[in-house]
Symmetry: C2
Subunit: 469 residues, 2 copies
């Protein structure tokens, strides 16, 4: 039920932007949350607001400053929205907020085959973007598990990482330039180039800002010619320690297979039953590039894996993973079955990785009600790797669900910080993790607040996300 001021604002915004502004229930419902487990749970329980005020779906950059000016004048908050697949609650608009859905700005603008760059509007879906590149013989090399349900602009806003990151990099390595509408309506366009030393790199103000610093409208990314060859291989190890050491040693030697995934024994048994026996752990590698490179890389990695106690077990698990890799069940059936669950991706350096894996698993298992805790490494670097944990817990009563969920997070975050880890490898912060930002960043949180205030003095951009109160 809209109050009088809501009715006025909606009419005023429609007068300014026409049918780009909607507030029917069908438009509002999919914009009340992202895919944060707790918001999904609240949605199932009918606990989300009746808002937002409206959903604006701009089709041109020029509409955005108009909208931001109105929001500033009337002290309304604005929540940029990609495809709603974030899992940390960066999108959770309050009742009177304006959501900007970017998906009608989804044009593929320019492919530059000489400079190996591509320019697209921020609202283009990831799968359509990659398909358009593939049709021309290229790839962005960016394969987040969410590729079917995320936008290119969302990748930048959340500091996304893709499954092929060990060779092709993460989104910050791929982003060559962007166009952003600042909270005051001015438009920043950074210049495309191979590298520059013209002062601090302004792209980084918006990479990972989760809509708190402006609205990303266009991005230019690196592209790669489709690789000449792909070579998969898989190894079985007796322990996570052995597998992690193997990864450490081949990245140390300078090898960069795009896909490096090490599943603990629980996940090996669940996801690769055909390759599971006696509590083994499974390492998948995929090399891509010129045939001479993949041949050398595959042989070198195999030698190092074997020396660390690994046993080569063919390519079936890699083929299986490629087929199944983006098939992830939603939270709803579990929540409806009385469970709470989530994934927690953190990272640390090689000298702390064994501790981090062990301590986070133990911390999750120590929460009363936890029925499963597992993890895999999915993004490796010469300095360390991430672990992507999954937990499932069964609250005694439905009323205990939120507290149990938050207890699992609390324990996992504390264990991560004890092991010198970062609290977020690639899912971002949103509302879920901002409580721990200060523990990781220290005075850096004040720096972030200062910058936020400098760019958004009225605080209209996505309040509640990212920056701790």
């Amino acid at each position: 039920m809209a109050d009088a001021s809501s009715t006025q604002h909606r009419a005023a915004l429609q007068a300014l932007l026409g049918d780009a502004v909607r507030w029917d229930e069908e438009s509002l419902a999919p914009h009340r949350r992202d895919t944060w487990c707790l918001a999904v749970l609240r949605g199932l329980r009918g606990q989300l607001t009746s808002g937002p005020l409206c959903v604006a779906s701009p089709t041109t950059v020029e509409q955005i400053p108009i909208l931001l000016a109105y929001a500033t004048q009337h002290r309304l908050a604005v929540v940029p929205f990609g495809a709603g697949s974030g899992v940390c609650g960066a999108v959770l608009p309050a009742e009177h907020d304006i959501v900007i859905d970017m998906r009608r700005m989804s044009r593929f603008l320019e492919l530059n085959e000489t400079a190996l760059t591509v320019r697209v509007q921020a609202g283009m879906m990831g799968n359509a973007f990659e398909a358009a590149l593939n049709a021309a013989g290229y790839s962005a090399g960016h394969f987040p598990q969410s590729i079917d349900v995320s936008t290119v602009g969302g990748w930048v806003s959340t500091r996304a990482a893709g499954q092929y990151s060990t060779r092709y990099g993460n989104i910050e390595d791929m982003l060559l330039a962007l166009e952003v509408v600042l909270p005051d309506g001015r438009v920043v366009r950074t210049r495309v180039g191979p590298r520059s030393a013209t002062g601090p790199d302004l792209r980084h103000l918006f990479l990972g800002a989760e809509g708190t610093m402006g609205v990303i409208t266009e991005v230019t990314l690196r592209i790669f010619p489709l690789p000449e060859s792909h070579v998969g291989q898989a190894f079985s190890f007796a322990s996570m320690h052995e597998g992690l050491q193997a990864i450490r040693l081949f990245t140390r030697a300078g090898w960069r297979p795009p896909v490096v995934r090490l599943y603990d024994s629980v996940e090996t048994a669940r996801l690769f039953p055909a390759s599971s026996s006696g509590g083994n752990v499974l390492l998948l590698l995929l090399s891509e590039g010129p045939a001479a490179l993949t041949a050398a890389e595959t042989a070198a990695c195999a030698a190092l894996c074997t020396a660390q106690g690994g046993t080569a077990i063919g390519t079936d698990p890699v083929d299986h993973w490629i087929k199944e890799r983006n098939l992830v069940p939603g939270f709803e059936p579990f929540l409806q079955g009385g469970l709470v669950l989530d994934t927690i991706e953190v990272a640390t350096t090689w000298d702390h990785i064994d501790d981090l894996y062990r301590e986070v698993i133990a911390a999750l298992q120590a929460v009363e009600g936890t029925i499963m805790a597992s993890g895999h490494s999915s993004h490796s670097y010469p300095q360390g790797t991430n672990i992507y944990f999954t937990f499932v817990a069964r609250p005694g009563t439905p009323e205990q669900a939120e507290a149990m969920y938050l207890a699992c997070w609390e324990q996992a975050m504390e264990a991560t910080l004890r092991c010198h880890g970062t609290i977020a490898h690639h899912h971002g912060i949103g509302r879920l993790r901002r409580h721990w930002m200060g523990r990781e960043l220290g005075v850096g949180v004040d720096v972030l607040r200062s910058i936020k205030h400098a760019l958004d003095p009225n605080g209209i951009m996505n309040p509640g996300a990212l920056i701790p109160e």
Copy 2:
């Protein structure tokens, strides 16, 4: 001759910081400028100030907030100083400024051989840093030509690039964490890790800030085990176009030899006379890494170079370059001989690189008095490359020297911007290039000013550098 207030400030600072504060002429003289050609010229002519107020050489982080608090209270400016080898005038203190020379904070703090990281104080000299790593079997992979006359902190402040960048990256790829004293005296320490998504990456506020955002006191960098093999090769091409195409094609294919240098015919004749004939251009490549990788890379690059019209000419030019690479004459003898000269490093994408090379050379030659204009590419990427131009001009009278120098820069910057280039590949901005910052960054300059004001509201940090008036 110090005025009364200078005398008071010096005494007050000495009372606070003891003999870390000096103002004898021997201490002041080397801190009046960096190595910007125009400042060197002014120094030779006795045109620099009698300042700065003093030189403070802190030995602990704790001394720096004391100094910044005094500067804030008395509205004095503070100029961080590494080793003074910058070439764009970022260091040019006014008469009453306080220079902070970081070179007494030069300890090698921690080598982590498992995580492949090294932590050092910002004032450590580049050559000592690399030598300490080499002694332990590692390298930072960062070889700016200034390595003997620059500090580790200076590399970060200026967004440095090293000669081996095509494989090992530039300083922003190497910097894992830093400690910075903010203008208000608070100390930011970012966390070491392989990768993170905890909001915008705060390291980038200080990378390339040239001392305008704070004082960098400590850095943590990636390191690499010393490579198993090194393979050099050299090719002769008929034209820059052919050589540039060869580089474009092997970086496109995914090869990353650390050293990729293409000299135009003028520089080939001057620097490699034994390999020069008939106006050819010279390409030097050096591959490093596991023997299987360098073998594959060397063969693949050779095949692509030959296909582009290149002729393999053995390894002598590479050996010659390795020996001579950091032997660069200072500006003084040329200036004293009545010439003006400089180097101008810019970059653009592959689709504009032929235009950029041709137009900048033509622009420099069009300035009356230019007697030499040449260039080479020294940092290549899949998206494009830099060109490092050198010009020499002979003014009709000594009074014309500055105007002629600035005319050469003006013409080169305009040509670069016409060719979609960045005005600075790795020397930074300082005072020399800030006039063109707005042309490259547009609204981004206002963003930079907002951030500067947020972090340094009193404007005490290195005023006059980087940010256009």
